[in-house]
């Protein structure tokens, strides 16, 4: 599996660390809504198909990326810095 890092280019997956489901919404820091916190901390989507994920290029530039990956084919459809900008589309 190759992930295209916007800084470093297409790199092998062994250089990356999976940092979890990218669909999670962290409640506002002061929020006391325990259900929302529970959902954020424990609920994970597990779709068979396109999935939003967070990966860190831990063996490279260390940037966190938002990656859209197909969990059935392992095709990486797009990558972008989690901080925003530099989106790379790669659907073939």
């Amino acid at each position: 599996m190759l992930i295209t890092c916007p800084y470093c280019g297409p790199r092998d997956v062994i250089e990356f660390t999976y940092q979890g489901d990218g669909n999670r919404e962290r409640p506002q820091p002061a929020s006391q809504n325990l259900d929302a916190w529970n959902a954020y901390v424990y609920d994970r989507l597990n779709p068979a198909g396109d999935h939003n994920e967070i990966w860190q290029h831990s063996g490279g530039c260390r940037a966190h990326l938002r990656v859209v990956r197909n969990t059935l084919t392992h095709e990486v459809l797009s990558t972008a810095f989690a901080r925003g900008g530099h989106k790379t589309e790669s659907r073939s």
Partner: protein, 997 residues
Amino acid sequence: MSPRRTETGGRIDRLRTIRFTFDGAPYTGHAGDTLASALLANGVTLFGRSFKYHRPRGLLAAGVEEPNALVTVLRGEVREPNIAATMVEIYDGLVAVSQNRAPSLAWDIGALNQLGGKVLSAGFYYKTFMGPVIGPLKGTRFWMFCEHFIRRAAGLGKAGTAPDPARYERMNAFCDVLVVGSGPAGLMAAKAAADQGARVILADLEAHFGGSAHWSGETIDGVPAADWAQRTVGQLEGNDNVRLLPRTTVWGYYDGNTLAALERVTDHKETPAKGEPRQRYWAIRAGTVVLATGSFERPLIFPGNDRPGVMLAHAAERYAVEYGVLPGQRIALFTNNDSAYRSAVALKKAGAAVVAIVDVRGDVSNEMRRLASEAEAELLAGHAVVATEGGRALTGLKVQRFDATNGALSGDDRSIHADSLLMSGGWSPTIHLASQAGARAEWDPARQAFLPPRPTQRWIGAGAFTGSFSTAEAIAEGRAAGLQAAGGSASSAPLPIVEATPGDPDPAPVFEIKAKGKSFVDFQHDVTAEDVRLAHREGFVSVEHLKRYTTLGMATDQGKNSNVPGLAIMAEALGKPIPEVGTTRFRPPYTAVSIGSLAAERFGDLKPERLTPMHDWHIANGATMYSAGLWYRPMIYGLAGETVEQAYVREARATRESAGIVDVSTLGKIAVQGPDAAEFLDRVYTNMFSTLAVGKARYGLMLREDGLAFDDGTTWRLGEQDFLMTTTTANAGKVMQNLEYFLDVIWPELKVTVTSVTDEWAGAAIGGPKARAILFSCVTGTAVDNATLPFMGIVHGRIAGVPVMICRLSFSGEMAFEVYSGAGYGTRVWEALIEAGKPFGLVTYGLEALGTMRIEKGHVTGAEIDGRTTARDLHLDWMLSKKKPFIGSAMMDREGLISPDRLQLVGLISLDNRPFNGGAHIVEELDEANPHDSIGHITACCYSPALSKYIALALVKDGKARHGTRAFVSDPLRNRFGPIEIVSNHFYDPDGSRMHG
């Protein structure tokens, strides 16, 4: 002259004689021979014993799909089992032995298993050993009794136990076009792509490129196909953009067009050249893959089809044409398709007598009739072979009239005298890699074969792989695939002209001749047609279940011969067409792969060793080192004759009496900088950092998002926007990653950068009543008195001329300082401190004394912050700010995390004056015979020189309420039971008067 070697012909080098041994007997062959062809030339018919019944077996094939002739190759002490003799190139001094026989191949005691054939049918092991216990000879106990004998009797070669001295290599390769297979299709594809300027890799598992061109007897471009292939390879060799990989099996097709291949670099050589690895593992990332992997000929399923002397038709043709070896003198063929007729003619030309061609089809074309007469063979159309005769070699066969439309046999059988029977049950494209790539094969009723599906990755098929079995089609498809893969446009230039024997590529849909006797489907695993039907009668309907129950296709050849016939028999039993039964999906590896090649240079201890700047000093000064994660740290600086306990007790006692120094360079250190650094730390830590003054440090605690404790350490404010965070040694990486995650993903608006500076700083902690006096004597450029350097204060100065940063903080509980300098000057500063400490009785201490003093103080480390404890459990709730939210603040007050019966941190004192062990349980009632009802466990323990007692820290249910009560330690594994007193975790100097000075 060898008994079966032809006078002329073949592509072997008859001038070079190679000497080797098989089962201890000396043989000769020629350069270019495989072990199979050389032994066959020497008249060897018996190559192995079968897996289950120990039946004698000969060669079935000539290539990678060989299921019977598996041998063990010995090189010195190293034995490599289960290699197909067809894939072993002979070299002078080759030593090979046969397998699965005792005492010898010819006389094998295990052959008695054939008498028990009914008993050893499909599912024998499940039925006998896994079933309910009825009578004495059933069930798991019986299995445990029998296993030793069964494991000895069944199976393949034995792996060696000697370490493999060979060297293996890994390579990463990138190319625009990877061509797998170098038959006419693959060669054309490689040539077309290379001519377009594409970077091409051509890989073939055989020693020579050319595939079927070596033995087809066809003509391409007016020259023998083999010469055409050689010429084309020569043209490719000259190209800088082409890499040729012979003896290279592409065995795995993975995501992102990544393919794995194994190159057998020196397995065919007597002595490898200097620097050559034995094998090389290739990870190839290909823009496009051209799959030109050809096809396998299928056996026919009939009684006695496994007898030595029964061979695939094309294999015999290959032995005759490529190696100049005839599998027999009187040859009969048995076929359901046209391709065997070409084989008959080739063998006739090579000098054999072709006595009969038995064709299941009643209606044979005139072209084939002409070929039969060219081979001077009697044509028995509408007949089938119903039996074979002979022992270690074939002596004859029986045929009967056969109706291909309903499979019925009729009339009397007739005997034919022959020493070789060649069969052809049609052809199956080698679709393994395409299947691995994720696509489902599709049944083609005309070809009676599974054809490659629509690609799910970037590959293009060509030649027999696509079901186009003629060389002319292969050449056309190969060129088209090569052009397309290289991004070129289709060519209208003329293609090389092929002169080939004509033939209809479609076989009759006949897979099995049902007659009395064992008909083998999977030769290597001894699965018969009857086993497949038995599985059906017992209720197995899915091919995946059929495969696992009968073990069909699960041997080392992975069903290369048996897959389609097995499915056909299953489909017939189910009364369904083959496409409805489906096929199993092929998985990597295509052929066996040595573990050595996967590991390559990565063996032994792969972890990097992290050494502190003062490492050499520790070693030179008698430290016993201890690995802590990746780090090596001094455990003790033992004196002659001291035990570990005596050493750490001496070190800790001296520190509390005068002063001690310890290397703390391993602590994680992270620079947190930027306009929002203070705000960020407020969110990350449970306590406030924005209120921290510049030049001061503060102890901080981090929680996880779920509210459990994560890590602790001190953070120093070096400037308004400049903090130096320290973490525990073990969690440095995790904390760093966590900070990066929050800055990147959750709070990208914060202007903060974090940088790991662990390796930039050397750290020494110096503590004890004399510590300040020692600093006073060696630090210049700053005062170190109480006013200038109060508790948690930071000063900058110099030691031995080296700039240092000193923070007054204490882990030992004494008046203590951490002295940080640039890593390159760590030893210089350390030595200066040691020198300055001499008049004060300064000792160096290691991890054991460090741990002892922290246990005495009741400080927590990773043993207590174990991912299950909360700040409250560890009595750190005073650090939980109520003025601001922080990571974990919302979740930390959940019901289960504040329940009173949680495990809480306590101290333990041994009342029987015996040491504790980490992990021992605490119980209220001592019951050595039947330990029960643990109320907690020990996390850390030591002998306390300050208390003169064995003490421990522990996590105990409702621990705080138990202070002053008694309980017991219960440690059945180490047989340690005894009374304890539960006390506060702050054993020593609970009000901190010593460290505040």
